[in-house]
């Protein structure tokens, strides 16, 4: 489904990603871990099409399409979803209107009829239950004055409504207490299906107790330096990242 080959990206001339290779198939959950500044969030941003980043080398194909040539909106319409690490507060834009516009623009792109207000509302209602989000939150302006947990929950709610093929969760767990984390993870798990894939970018192994990954990759200095299964995450939790750094300097020396 997603094929990343030798991806290099930089911001304002500073290289951040230095040759990422990653293959993701339908039905898989991949966790990307790594110390601060290793390029985890950059990878998520580049996949979603954030324009500050310049891709200097490499290619990304998504369902056979060259992802890097698509605008952020077209990537979303193709089925890529980024749950933001820091969801943006947008005063004056109601969550409901925003989502309805999004859903209908996505549908239009796919040649589907737009949803009328009634159908959209029933879609919303169903998804609200799924991620345990309060209606009150959605009648407010988008993310405005939301708590950290509410913002993250709203990201998962948007994901549920938009039904992406590839979901990228960028540190969705950061700053959440265990209850909020469970709700978010539960939402993600409910949305899992054999034809969809998920990338979980996280700093903490904790999230992976709730969203069980098929593969764990360690990102360091803009490269995937180690890949494994869930046990790798546990090992990282126990030993930290230093042993990987040491291992690396050992091999390079």
């Amino acid at each position: 489904m997603l094929s990343i080959k030798n991806l290099h990206a930089s911001i304002e001339g500073t290289p951040i990603l230095n040759g990422i290779n990653l293959e993701i198939n339908a039905g898989e959950v991949h966790a990307i871990m790594g110390p601060n500044g290793s390029g985890k969030s950059t990878l998520a941003s580049v996949l979603a099409g954030r324009e500050e980043y310049e891709v200097t080398e490499g290619e990304v194909f998504f369902k056979g399409k060259n992802l890097l040539e698509l605008s952020p909106e077209d990537r979303a319409r193709e089925g890529v979803f980024l749950a933001f690490q820091y969801p943006v507060e947008i005063p004056g834009v109601s969550s409901t209107n925003f989502l309805r516009t999004a859903v209908n623009q996505v549908r239009e792109y796919r040649g589907q009829e737009p949803l009328d207000a009634v159908k959209f509302l029933s879609l919303m209602k169903g998804k609200m239950k799924l991620v345990e989000i309060d209606q009150k939150l959605l009648s407010r302006a988008l993310n405005e004055g939301f708590s950290g947990g509410e913002k993250k929950r709203n990201e998962i709610f948007q994901m549920a409504v938009l039904e992406p093929t590839l979901s990228i969760l960028d540190e969705t767990d950061s700053g959440l207490d265990i209850d909020a984390l469970k709700v978010v993870a539960n939402g993600v798990n409910q949305l899992k299906s054999p034809d969809k894939a998920t990338i979980v970018v996280t700093h903490y192994q904790r999230l992976l107790d709730y969203i069980v990954p098929d593969f764990v990759h360690v990102l360091f200095q803009g490269k995937i330096v180690k890949s494994g299964t869930k046990s790798l995450a546990l090992e990282l939790e126990e030993k930290g990242y230093d042993w990987i750094k040491e291992e690396l300097s050992g091999t390079s020396a």
Partner: protein, 462 residues
């Protein structure tokens, strides 16, 4: 319904000449422009004016020829060279006569779809048009200013807006021949809004219109007044209006004003309001299409415990230039004022905001808030903004702030990442920015109308 018509006298033979020597001496000071005074041919036939207002009109005339029009060397007009703009773009400085066949011409005009029973008051190039007006006479009384009796005139026109304050105010006072006196009786709550529709169309005889309105809201009265200038063509026109509001004790008046003309329309409007004890006056001004607009809005909180609110939205493109100068004076204790003006400037347009708040020594426990926020969408757009607070009382809460920025890239990316196209995302953000001001409009039909034109202007079609 009342049926009164006033025929236009047309330009008269040159009865009155200017005190020309005086003009020559004064014109050496650069702060003032006397050429434009000379241009106003209509000034020559301002006599006899309105019976009962001779002194007022004479004094305004004397002030005008003595003081001239402001240039950009004058602080109050530093960023707005409107005198020059008027001088250069009006083909003719006479008053426009009344539009003939107005009823026919207004049939295709796009207006808010107000419900049955809405009070509609129409003026025709500033003259009251009774045949096109319809309103509930039990609710309000409408009279053309030209037909008011001398005592009413003396106690209203020119008692709130002092024409020595501003040359354009003096110009209107000198030249207006008619206008509207709107009276809302004591204790009357006018359920339907009162639309004042000013139809504007310059004629062959002149390109200047001088609308004049006086609103007297008696004790405990409540009403919403919606003023719209409606342009029947796109010929150059100069609208020079003066509106006065007297909001008596515990009366509550909302005043909405829509300025959406065309690229050859220049407007200078002076609005002055006296707000008495426990009364509220709320102004919402939307400025869209124009060549140049200068709004002077003054709220005199003449007693304590009253409230004055000033909200404005200006959405500019091309070379449109809109200047809002507001002024609120807190004279007694426990009064509140709120102000929010927001501007979106695109292309080569320019916005100007100046907000003065005066808090006098007696005005303890004043609460006064002011905010001006602006978005610049192009490299060549400009905003000049200046809060000006003068506070002599020592126990007050006053705050002001102004921001100028561009559309937030992070917000734009966030919206796009959900599948919403770039243009739609921009519109969504711009509309959200503007919406904060639109939310102060409480009249449903008018609000819908404004939302529609604002959305269209911001590039939206949803």
């Amino acid at each position: 319904m009342i049926g009164l018509k006033r025929s236009y006298r047309g330009p008269q033979p040159d009865e009155h000449s200017y005190p020309s020597t005086n003009l020559q001496i004064m014109s050496i000071t650069k702060k003032k422009d006397f050429q434009l005074v000379k241009q106003f041919e209509s000034l020559r036939d301002f006599h006899p004016g309105i019976a009962g207002l001779e002194n007022l009109q004479n004094n305004a005339f004397t002030f005008l020829v003595g003081n001239g029009f402001p240039t950009t060397k004058e602080e109050e007009y530093k960023y707005t060279g409107i005198t020059k703009r008027i001088s250069e773009s009006m083909p003719d400085f006479r008053k426009s006569a009344q539009i003939s066949g107005l009823a026919q011409k207004t049939k295709t005009v796009d207006l808010p779809s107000w419900p049955e029973g809405t009070n509609i008051i129409v003026t025709n190039n500033g003259y009251f048009e009774s045949e096109l007006s319809s309103y509930d006479e039990n609710d309000i009384s409408i009279l053309p200013i030209s037909k008011l009796d001398p005592p009413t005139l003396a106690s209203s026109i020119g008692t709130i807006e002092k024409s020595e304050k501003d040359a354009f105010s003096a110009l209107n006072t000198t030249l207006f021949e008619d206008g509207l006196m709107v009276q809302i009786p004591a204790g009357k709550r006018v359920e339907s809004p009162i639309y004042l529709i000013h139809y504007i169309q310059p004629g062959n005889d002149g390109h200047c219109v001088f609308p004049r309105v006086f609103v007297n809201a008696d004790k405990n009265a409540e009403a919403s007044i919606i003023e719209m200038d409606v342009f029947l063509d796109e010929k150059p026109v100069f609208i020079n209006s003066v509106s006065e509001f007297r909001v008596h004790q515990n009366a509550h008046i909302k005043h909405y004003k829509l300025q959406d003309g065309h690229k050859s329309a220049i407007t200078v409007s002076n609005t002055s309001t006296d707000v008495h004890r426990d009364a509220t006056f709320t102004s919402v001004v939307l400025s869209l299409e124009a060549d140049m607009i200068r709004n002077n809005l003054s709220l005199n909180l003449v007693d304590g415990s009253c409230e004055g609110n000033m909200y404005g939205l200006f959405l500019l493109n091309g070379r449109t230039h809109v200047d809002n100068h507001t002024n609120v004076a807190h004279t007694q204790a426990h009064a509140v004022s709120n102000e929010l003006y927001k501007g979106i400037m695109n292309d080569h347009s320019r916005g100007v905001f100046n907000g003065k708040i005066f808090v006098y020594k007696e005005a303890q426990k004043t609460n006064a808030f002011q905010q001006n926020s602006n978005l610049l969408l192009s490299e060549n757009a400009t905003i000049n903004t200046k809060p000006q607070l003068e506070i002599w009382a020592d126990d007050v809460k006053c705050s002001h702030g102004c921001t100028t920025g561009q559309l937030d890239d992070e917000a734009l990316f966030y919206i796009r990442s959900r599948g919403i196209g770039k243009e739609a995302a921009r519109t969504l953000l711009l509309y959200a920015f503007a919406g904060e001001v639109l939310d102060y409009i409480e009249e449903e039909a008018f609000k819908k109308y404004c939302e529609k034109i604002v959305n269209e202007r911001l590039g939206g079609n949803h």
